[in-house]
């Protein structure tokens, strides 16, 4: 190997890496929140909605899940602009990622809803609850709890996918890497460092989602049954 490793850029450029990491984190959190809410809403339409609504949602899910995120991002970013709608890069990134992750969330939550036994629905409606209340108070909490591990995996994948948003000028972690590289030309070392930072991020994300679950799913915590 005729290559001298040089990590000295860390001392001068660590701020950019930290900034990039924070942006990646913000991007991820925003997308997880929006994507989850949208995904749940779509899953509700997919399972409870009118036939037309169901068709539309499943078309949406198919379309998103069968095309790459990069293409979606390009399409959205330039497409919106061509319609004279101006969005900042950060917003465009959040929209693209939210759309993407919502499609996957829809499928996951739908499977969760469908796995809840019919008896739960009947019991709840026999207590006089409206359809919406049955859904909100009985079905969805159980569905989300069941599918939580699948959701964690999906959200970690989504966090990793934020890296491609550097392509539409979002200054997240990978973009910071580009920027430092174009000043220091230590490409390989920089990507090594970035890889480690992503590992740390995905570990953090898993830990905090598990922590969140412990707070929200009281029963799991009290009975000490892991998800």
């Amino acid at each position: 190997m005729n290559y001298d490793f040089d990590f000295s850029f860390l001392s001068t450029h660590w701020r950019e890496l930290v900034d990039g990491m924070l942006l990646t984190l913000r991007l991820s959190v925003a997308t997880i929140v929006f994507g989850f809410l949208l995904g749940v809403a779509l899953a509700v339409v997919r399972t409870q909605g009118s036939p037309l609504g169901r068709k539309l949602v499943s078309g949406y899910v198919d379309l998103i899940r069968n095309t790459p995120l990069v293409i979606q991002a390009f399409w959205l970013f330039f497409g919106l602009a061509a319609l004279q709608i101006r969005v900042p890069a950060m917003a465009a990134a959040i929209i693209a990622l939210t759309i993407n992750v919502s499609a996957y969330t829809t499928e996951i939550v739908r499977a969760g809803i469908e796995s809840i036994p019919r008896g739960q629905l009947e019991a709840a409606s026999c207590l006089g609850m409206s359809r919406w209340k049955v859904l909100r108070l009985v079905i969805l909490p159980q569905a989300v709890e069941r599918m939580y591990p699948a959701l964690i995996s999906q959200f970690v994948l989504m966090m990793l996918a934020t890296s491609i948003m550097s392509q539409i000028s979002t200054e997240e972690l990978t973009a910071s890497g580009y920027a430092i590289q174009s000043q220091t030309f230590r490409g390989f070392e920089i990507y090594l460092v970035i890889a480690v930072l992503y590992l740390v991020l995905s570990w953090l994300l898993r830990i905090s989602m598990a922590g969140f679950a412990a707070v929200v799913f009281t029963r799991r915590r009290r009975l000490k049954t892991p998800l």
Partner: protein, 240 residues
């Protein structure tokens, strides 16, 4: 030495940015075209070897060269002191002034007038560096960095951004893409000569390329290419 390697394998690997009109792009026959593409073809022919164009974009030109994925870089590669620390350049074979452009109506004479505005630029290019340097003292300027020239151009042409820092050659392209957006050159940030990028300590190759550049500047071949793509002539002092 790389020169020997090239001759042995009878092929030269030249990194060109083919997403950067007019230096490199796809023509309507989907063939690679542009000033750097033509120059690269000329170099391979004069060297008597086959040409393989390695497509690169702004940020990864240097890594491609350093990791030996390319023997030479001809990708509107402006000669800067920072780059010289890591790689070598041949004598310049072209020159690119970098400018700030914006809507015709806007008054914009210096970096100070950019205060409060968003400026689009291609990440890792000399425009990026000059812009960043120029606005250090100016408050409220947001630099929006895109991955390659074409993306930057598209962003301005489609109305994502109003201002851009770039080579003047892209301004007509933006106008052509969307005539409704009346983009004009506002001021020149700096002029950069650009050269062929080489790895350090490639003495033999460097001296061959230097000689080749001089010859073709003198015989006007470079100027011919330049005029065809940029609609103007190279500066007088380069042609001597």
């Amino acid at each position: 030495d790389t020169l020997d390697t090239i001759k042995q394998r009878k092929k030269v690997l030249i990194a060109v940015d083919i997403g950067a009109p007019p230096y490199g792009f796809l023509d309507s026959d989907a063939k690679q075209a542009g000033s750097d593409v033509e120059a690269a073809r000329m170099l391979a022919k004069d060297l008597g070897v086959e040409l393989e164009i390695v497509p690169v974009s702004g940020p990864n030109r240097v890594p491609f060269l350093l990791s030996k994925k390319a023997d030479l870089v001809m990708a509107s590669f402006s000669i800067t002191d920072e780059r010289k620390k890591v790689i070598d350049f041949s004598e310049p074979y072209g020159v690119v002034p970098i400018v700030v452009a914006g809507p015709k109506a806007a008054t914009l004479k210096s970096f100070a007038d950019l205060s409060g505005k968003n400026v689009a630029v291609t990440r890792g290019t000399t425009s990026d560096q000059e812009l960043s340097r120029g606005i250090k003292e100016v408050s409220g300027v947001t630099v929006v960095r895109y991955e390659d020239d074409a993306t930057t151009n598209t962003a301005v042409a489609t109305g994502q951004q109003d201002y851009m820092a770039a080579a003047p050659s892209v301004v007509p392209a933006v106008k052509k893409a969307n005539p409704a957006r009346d983009i004009d050159i506002k001021f020149v940030m700096k002029s950069f000569p650009y050269g062929v990028g080489l790895r350090k300590d490639d003495a033999a190759l460097k001296s061959w390329v230097d000689g080749w550049v001089k010859t073709n500047l003198k015989n006007g071949k470079f100027n011919e290419i330049y005029k065809r793509h940029f609609g103007m002539s190279l500066p007088e002092e380069m042609l001597k």
